[in-house]
Structure formats: C-alpha cells, structure tokens
Amino acid sequence: MDVLPGIDPRAPLLEVSDLHVEFRTQYGVAKAINGANFWLSAGETLAILGESGCGKSVTAQAIMGILDTPPGYVTQGQIKYRGVDLLKLSENERRKVRANRIAMIFQDALSALNPVYTVGFQLGEVFRKHRGMSRSAAKQRAIELLDQVKIPAARTRVDDYPHQFSGGMRQRVMIAMALALDPEVLIADEPTTALDVTVQAQIMGLLADLQRERNMGLILITHDMGVVADVADRISVMYAGRVVEEAPVYDIYSRPAHPYTRALLESIPRLDMKGQQLSVIRGLPPVLTDVPKGCAFNPRCAYARDACRQDPAPPVYQVSQQPHRTARCHFFREVIGE
C-alpha cells in the first residue's frame, strides 16, 4: 500500500471540521452543507441521523471525494484522515485513500453492481487492480470474502450474476467489496433501508461483527432511530446541512439537547407500547436555496423566540464536557433541563 505523506498514526482517525458544500445550479446556489463538524475513532460507530435532504449523503460523498462536480463544490472546511487534510490531496492520492483507507457502501446495492459480470469477477477485479493479483488468486480471495460476509456456498455462488442474488445477498457482496482492501473507515449510507427487517437484522449483525474483528471506524448514515439506538456509540443529528446536536447514544435518547432531536424522538411510534397520539413537527424542512434566517429550524421549533430569527445561526455550544456533547441551539439548557 502506498504511504501517504504526513500521516500521523496518533491523530484522530477521521475529523471533519466546518465543512461547507454548495451546489451551483441554474436555480441558484443550494447550500447543502453549512458547517458540519464531527470526528470518528477506530472501532467506533458514529451514526449520522437526519431526514431526507438534510445533507447526509453529500457529507459522505465529500469525505469520499466523489461529489458530483459540477454542480457540487466543497467551499470551506477540512476533512482530516490521520492528520492529513484529504481536501488538499491530488486526485490520484485521493483515489488511493478511497480504495485502501476509506470505503463506502450504498443504499441501492443492485445498481452499484454491474449486471453483465459475475459477482466473483467484480470482487476479484478489486484485487487485480489494486493488488496486482493473478486471476486465480483474485478469485480465491473473492471466495474467502464472500465466505466472510456469510454467503452460503461461496465457492459455487462466486460464479453467479448479481440478479441471481437476493437483495440481502447483494448488500453482502457490496460489503465484501468495500472491505476487500481492509479500510480503516467504512461509511454505510442507508445500507438496509431497501431491505426487510429480518434481512436488516442480519446485515447489521454482520457489519457489527466485521467492525469488531477489524477495529474499523464505522459511519452509519440513516434516518431510522431504532437502528441507531441498537448500534451507535455516538450520534450526529443533521438538519438543513448542519450537525445540530452531537452526543453519545444513551445521552441523546434520554436527554436530547436540541429541540429538533427532541421532536423527532417524540414523533415516532413505538413497537413496545401502544402510544398516545403522535406529536408532530409542524411544517416542512427548508428548501436549501432559501434557508430561514438565524436558526434554520426556527419556523418549526416549539422553543423559538426572537433571538432565533436573527443571524448569525446558533454556534456550536458545548452542552457538557464529560461526556462530550454539543448543540446548535441558543436555548439548549432549557431543552435538556425538562
């Protein structure tokens, strides 16, 4: 594996600070990410939680260096991997990081696989391209990997085409492909959203096992607060392109500090009890070409007052030091106190 210049093994595994991404379209500039901050340690699972359009996938694409450019541009901020700012690397160096250090799996496994090649060929290709392996050695590695992601009868299934696999098995193949070169960071963007719950449970279990074995950092992007409660160590809640709250999983569920987090938790029905009427968050998330002044959540917020409607937007307040918690709300003390 090529060595990246400037790598500091003691620096945080991944650290995103003040990230800004915008899309320059014919309708105007959409500010998709407006200052996102988070970090990830080895062996840790960070969940990025938020509703559709809040910027989860764009954040992941910016980290991977696969933003759709144009129209998308990173305009500000840093993405540091072991101390190296990925945004300052050449495209060639970036590609190497992408293959060897940071990998990603997507929601839609079927469209990510090529229908005209066998699963084994596509997996083997990774080893031929990046490790210079022979055809037969690469196929052998492909079988081992399929076995590791618990595809039954891997030796015979390796010659199947993607359409011969079920949705859950295709997602396993994607995981195998992402893990082929032993990355230290895995970003999983809604990896189970398209799957049935029993299959989701299998896949989440598999991801947790692989992460433990490899001491990998996992960024799990999802909108499912059940999945997050089950697997995350820490959570970053995103709203309109910002991380509005960041906290360890137990703290955020028992004492949310941001009104949006709190409202989300109150609006989901529960499996384990017959609830009362659901409380709702009124209105809709903002259009990104026209984000409200001040706090972007203010038109929907039950706590909002005049200060919230004025620029600048709430800064990243430190909610507590031990554990480390932050919230972008002027009135977090009131919210968490209740």
Partner: protein, 335 residues
C-alpha cells in the same frame, strides 16, 4: 355481527407463469394470495404486516376490485363483490377506496389537484352534481389540511406528505366506509409520517371509517391498528388484537419478525430476545409442503412437513395462530 363492514373468505390469487411467446403455455403459478380469511368492523383498523412479496399489495388490490380473485368471496356490507356486475358493482365499489404508497408516482403529473381529487366524481356522477364539484373538492382539500385555494396546482408543486394528503382526499371523495391503505406513510420522513398518521386517525373518528392498513413498519402498524394480521407467503399465519400480536406472539415467524425490529431506546440493547432467521423466503411459485415457514423455522418437526397448520386458537395460543407448536414468547420487551 351486524357491524362487520367487510368480510373476505378463502381469498386466492394465483398469477399464471407462462412459457413461450406465441403459444403461451402455463407452467405454474405464483401463489401471491393463497387462502385468506379476514373481517373488518365499523370504525376499526386492521393492520396487515409481512415481508416484501408476501402478498400484501395483491390482497389490497383484490379487496378494492383492482384484481379478480382466482377463488373466494369478498362481502362488503352483505353484498358479494365478486359476483356483482354493472351498475350494482359500481355503486358497491364506491364504498371501498384505496390510498397508495408512493406519493411521487401515484398521482398523474399532468392533472391539477382539483382534477385528481374530482376524478372519482366523473366515474360516479351521481354522487355530486356537476355544479357542486369544485366546492366539494375544496372541502376535501380543507378536510385533509391543504389550502383549498391550491386547487389548480400540479402534484410536483407539493411535498411528499402533501401529495399523500391529496391521495387521501381523493380516496375520501366518494364518502366510502372502508379505505385500504397500502404503505401510505412508507415513503415519508418521520416528521411528516406522524402528520399523515394523525390525519388518518382524525378522519377515522370524524367519519367512522374502517381501515385496512398495510405496512412493513411494525411500529407504525401497532400505533394505528386495533387488530393485526401477519402474512407469510400468501397466508395469514397469526392474527389478533395489537396487544396479542406484539406482547404475546405465538407463531415463530411473528416472533422472528418482531425481534428483528429495532426499538428506539438504547437501554434495551442486548436485553431483548434476538431471533436471527437464516436463509431467504422461498418462492411463492413453489411453497414448501405442510407449514410454509418450516424451511426457516427452528422448531420444525416431521409433522410440520406433512400437515398444514390451520389458523386457529390453540391450547397455548389464546388468539388464532397457524403453528402446530404455537406458544407465547415475548421478543419485544426487556427480558
């Protein structure tokens, strides 16, 4: 039981599998719905859950008459929908309407909202006289929480949640007693999902509606349903009040399904019974003999391969369960 508004008996839908292009010959059948009995009372919500491909949408289409059953009967208010014809059938159909999953594709993009919601009045002109239709559509918009002045807008000018409201308004147009909802909130974000669920509940109270509510999200179904039916490979395998299904499930499949659903409370992590199912759902064209779940069931015996378990109350199952060895096991709460 005079308050039963809908009753289906022995409902079957087989889709033929054919081979050949010019001379098609039938080589088998997808048994999408394979013998379903259900009933629905006035003002009640029956939830239907199950994994992808188990036959939920096919069941919904049979109930509203979008598919013709291979066999079985569907009674709406005492009239047999399968045998009714012509004007009588059209009149009876008014009583049972449908709301679909995808608010992005289920509305015609070239029609205004007014035309979409008012379309049922053209098919059933006797319901509202022509000169009253605009007013009726505006009332419907108001009922579902949309601005009546937006009657001339197009679907793309509305958000997902608002489009789902349009779909609901359209279903309400003919003042039905029964609405079949097929995954009505699955495509929506949680904050919007709660708005639509609350709307459905309010309308139910206001108009005394009965719902068949189909979804794969078991938490949403628990919230909205009075009773629940769990489907596997075209059959209902367990049914009962929400409390029976969620707190005292007796069928191994229901137990496995529920145990796989994450609960949004990290304190329960590792403290719930976990059942991880192996393998995939078998093909509905070739279901296993005896109990259809036996290929994935950890309790299966020889008996399960030989004898199909009927959906009935059993010694250890106070509510109907299609398992020879039905027995209560709580997989939802803290152990």
């Amino acid at each position: 039981m005079s308050d039963v508004v809908l009753e289906a008996k022995g409902l079957v839908k087989h889709f033929p599998i054919t081979q050949g292009i010019v001379f098609k010959s039938k080589v088998g059948a997808v048994r999408a719905v394979d013998g379903v009995d259900l009933h629905l009372r006035r003002g009640e919500t029956l939830g239907v859950v199950g994994e992808s491909g188990c036959g939920k949408s096919t069941l919904a289409k049979l109930l509203v008459g979008l598919e013709t059953p291979t066999s079985g009967s569907i009674n709406v208010r005492g009239e047999d929908m399968v045998r009714l014809k012509g004007a009588a059938l059209r009149r009876a159909r008014r009583n049972i309407q449908m709301v679909l999953q995808d608010p992005y594709t289920s509305l015609n993009p070239r029609m205004t909202v007014g035309d979409i919601i008012g379309e049922p009045f053209q098919i059933h002109p006797e319901v509202v006289p022509k000169n009253g239709r605009q007013r009726a559509v505006q009332d419907l918009l108001d009922t579902v929480g949309l601005n009546p002045d937006h009657i001339n807008r197009y679907p793309h000018q509305f958000s997902g949640g608002q489009r789902q409201r349009i779909g609901i308004a359209r279903a309400l147009a003919l003042k039905p007693e029964i609405i079949v909802c097929d995954e009505p909130v699955s495509a929506l974000d949680v904050s919007i999902q709660a708005q639509v669920i609350n709307l459905l509940e309010r309308l139910q109270n206001e108009f005394g509606l009965s719902y068949i509510f189909i979804a794969h999200d078991l938490s949403v179904v628990r919230h909205i349903s009075d009773r629940v039916a769990v489907m596997y490979l075209g059959k209902v395998i367990e049914t009962g009040h929400d409390h029976a299904i969620y707190d005292q499930p007796t069928h191994p499949y229901t137990q496995a399904l529920l145990s796989a659903v994450p609960v949004p409370d990290p304190r329960l992590r590792g403290h719930r019974d976990q059942i991880v199912l192996e393998g995939d759902v078998p093909s509905p064209a070739n279901p296993p003999s005896g109990c259809r779940f036996r290929t994935r069931c950890w309790k299966a015996t020889q008996l399960c391969a030989e004898q199909e378990p009927l959906l009935q109350v059993r010694e250890r199952s106070p509510h109907p369960s299609a398992c020879h060895y039905a027995e209560i096991r709580d997989v939802v709460h803290r152990r």
